[in-house]
């Protein structure tokens, strides 16, 4: 699908996105499938306060479309369900709505701290925006009112969240883990003891064969992912696996954070990306690794699949895992696109 590429930092010979942000990518989302035309748009939020939009063409070419800036580093972005608008959450404690067609931006949500996550909730009887913040609250907004429809206190700062109606999960500092049911209105469904021993970093909901959300994958800073079912049929359905670690050949092993997890929309397999600069494809049902990449020269900070699962996008940049003194402004962030449909096919027995 994509042609070969050129730069030396392109370790997997993938297609490089034109005009990437100037600082690390903190959010990366493809447009949903509901767009009238078969077009793929990619949105990236970054530490340079920018949110950029590209059109990704079938041949892998990217066309920069537009850019907006927030008052602080962008921490999350999400698409409206119809693919016409983008929500942008920032360290400036705000969430703004970017109407792509009208090219207008308006504020739709506010917190008392930087907003770490934003997700669109699309149910049959209501639609809203869920935002999670370091101010230890989770808020739901109908985007027309300056006041939230609902605010839920979290035990700790919100670190990661995912929404797939009727389910929402939030991972917090202090290894908090809360599942919400969004049916009728958001309610706490279950507080779960964390399956992991270290700080939660990323969470992603997965679906069962009938395409209903049934569990989630939780990644921690200690190179480990937990696959958890909300209601496991068998307690052995839940398991954890290690990833993003050095081989430990010389008696020392470096363990890296799992920066992002995404499930393939068609196959249900998943990808993890890590501070070690690699991405790995996994089949959680066969419990096998399908592929792992070469290590990039920087961490992979975020990743995502396009709506039909043909394209895998990943952002390479510094993730601060070694502190500020390892931040090299000369190394520019990059976003790569990979044709991935076949590589993520589940293992057949």
């Amino acid at each position: 699908m994509f042609g070969a590429a050129q730069s030396t930092t392109n370790r997997m010979n993938d297609f490089e996105v034109a005009s990437p942000p100037d600082d690390s990518v903190s959010a990366l989302e493809f447009s949903p499938s509901t767009l009238q035309v078969q077009k793929n748009f990619l949105i990236a939020g970054a530490w340079d306060n920018s949110v950029r939009c590209w059109e990704v063409e079938q041949n892998g070419q990217t066309v920069p479309k537009s850019m907006k800036t927030m008052g602080g580093p962008v921490l999350d972005v999400c698409w409206s369900d119809d693919g016409t608008k983008v929500f942008m959450a920032s360290c400036d404690k705000q969430v703004k709505l970017w109407d792509l067609a009208a090219d207008q931006v308006m504020q739709v949500a506010a917190h008392d701290g930087p907003v770490k996550t934003c997700h669109m909730v699309k149910g049959p009887n209501y639609t809203c925006l869920m935002t999670g913040s370091w101010d230890k609250t989770l808020k739901f907004w109908d985007t027309r009112s300056p006041n939230p429809m609902m605010a839920i206190n979290l035990p700790e700062r919100c670190y990661c969240a995912d929404v797939d109606y009727p389910m929402a999960v939030v991972g917090t500092a202090g290894r908090g883990l809360i599942i919400y049911s969004l049916e009728n209105s958001p309610t706490e469904y279950k507080r779960q003891e964390s399956p992991l021993k270290y700080q939660h970093r990323t969470i992603s909901i997965f679906k069962d064969k009938k395409k209903t959300p049934t569990g989630y994958a939780l990644g921690s800073i200690e190179g480990r992912v937990a696959i958890q079912y909300v209601n496991p049929v068998n307690p052995k359905d839940n398991f954890t696996f290690k990833c993003h670690r050095s081989t430990g050949t010389s008696g020392f092993q470096d363990i890296y954070a799992v920066n992002d997890i995404a499930f393939h929309p068609a196959h249900g397999t998943l990808v993890t990306v890590g501070s070690d600069g690699t991405f790995s494809f996994w089949d959680k049902d066969a419990r096998t690794k399908l592929k792992s990449s070469e290590a990039m020269d920087q961490s992979i900070t975020k990743c995502g699949f396009n709506a039909n699962g043909q394209i895998f996008a990943y952002a390479v940049g510094y993730d601060w895992s070694k502190g500020h003194e390892y931040f090299n402004p000369a190394k520019k962030p990059q976003i790569f696109l990979r044709s991935c449909y076949d590589e993520l096919k589940p293992r057949v027995n």
């Binding site: 800036t69 008052g71 602080g72 504020q107 290690k242 020392f252």
Partner: protein, 377 residues
């Protein structure tokens, strides 16, 4: 009489007699050299695996393991790393290593030797294998265990990443010498069982979540293992980071000079109980920009935002953003504004003005500090 310690030998590849420092590398070597499908280059795990793959996927028969010695090309034997190597070949290799000298001890059943341990003065399991300088232990620790059945039964995983959360066989964790003999048998059976298991997730650990976070530091002897697990069982979230190393050390200390852990691990993440994003957001670089923005917002919302959302912004705005009249932005790349159909030319113009504002602001010595946190170093 002091029993002679057996010299630890390196893991080696049955197919080509090559030696490796680490069994993991050996496994990688085997996958790449001997178990790789010549048609699709898929790496399989065992010889039979390769043959089945070629049969089922490509309808081709593979009768010899690629790149193997003539007498070691049997594709039927299931060998994974050091597991599954025929006992006689193991012994032969051992003998060759020892300079052709036939070691009578090798022919002695392992169990028989074990029962002698209680009589020998210090239980050898508590002794470091003093034939190796201590700094080598970490390096050879793993490989050593794999194929030296006469060694005391360490709670040692067959592969570092397959270390079970708890010792699979309780007997293996006991220090009692009496249990050792039985454990050796189990150890070997275990090894055999593992060899026939299909490798799943390389790091797959089952639902049991009581796993110590870093299971690679396998302590020696029951006490070592126990003390290893103890500090990790309830990790203090405020002490994340280098914890495994600390635990490692304590495990060794408590083990009474026990053999060093196989692999010491380091988590490449700051030890502080804050996310990378929080640490990063505290940086002056980002705070300065943010301060400008918050000051601007406080002065009057620029966007057509809903009217009274000021509450969320009240905390901001103390910074040195005097010169800023619009939101900070980095200049968009030329192509971006150039191609953009939705036109951000105005924004670009703004951005230039603002970037000067930012650089001014960055000279202001007192940055607005987010949450009074000290800067992460």
């Amino acid at each position: 009489m002091g029993r002679k310690k057996k010299k630890a030998s390196k893991p080696w590849c049955w197919y080509c007699n090559r030696e490796f420092d680490d069994e993991k590398i050996l496994v990688q070597h085997q996958k790449a050299k001997h178990f790789k499908c010549h048609i699709c280059h898929k790496k399989l795990y065992t010889g039979p695996g390769l043959s089945i793959h070629c049969m089922q996927v490509h309808k081709e028969t593979v009768d010899k393991v690629p790149n193997s010695l003539p007498n070691r090309s049997n594709i039927e034997i299931e060998i994974f790393g050091m597991d599954g190597i025929p006992a006689e070949d193991l012994r032969d290799h051992e003998r060759q290593k020892n300079g052709g000298k036939s070691d009578s001890e090798d022919d002695e059943p392992a169990a028989k030797k074990k029962v002698e341990y209680p009589m020998s003065v210090p239980p050898p399991m508590m002794m470091p294998p003093n034939m190796m300088p201590p700094h080598m232990l970490g390096q050879y620790g793993m490989g050593m265990m794999q194929h030296m059945p006469p060694l005391p039964p360490y709670p040692m995983p067959m592969m570092p990443h397959m270390m079970p959360p708890r010792p699979i066989f309780p007997a293996m964790a006991t220090t009692s010498a009496a249990a050792a003999a039985a454990a050796v048998h189990q150890h070997q059976q275990h090894a055999a069982a593992m060899a026939h298991q299909k490798p799943t997730f390389p790091a797959y650990s089952n639902a049991t979540i009581s796993a110590p976070p870093t299971t690679n530091n396998a302590g020696v002897g029951g006490s070592g293992a126990a003390s290893n697990a103890a500090p990790l069982a309830a990790p203090d979230p405020h002490q994340q980071g280098r914890l495994p190393n600390a635990a490692n050390a304590s495990g060794n200390a408590a083990g009474g000079g026990g053999v060093v852990a196989a692999v010491s691990t380091k988590i490449m993440h700051p030890a502080e109980d804050a996310s990378l994003e929080e640490l990063r957001a505290r940086q002056p670089k980002y705070q300065a920009r943010l301060a400008i923005a918050l000051a601007t917002i406080a002065a009057g919302p620029k966007t057509n935002s809903p009217s009274n959302n000021g509450g969320g912004n009240s905390g901001g705005g103390g910074g040195g953003g005097s010169a800023a009249s619009s939101m900070p932005s980095t200049p968009p790349p030329p192509s971006l504004s150039g191609i953009s159909p939705t036109g951000s030319a105005a924004a670009a113009a703004n951005a230039i003005a603002v970037s000067t504002a930012i650089s001014k602001a960055q000279e202001v010595s007192s940055y607005h500090s987010y949450r009074n946190h000290s800067q992460y170093k």
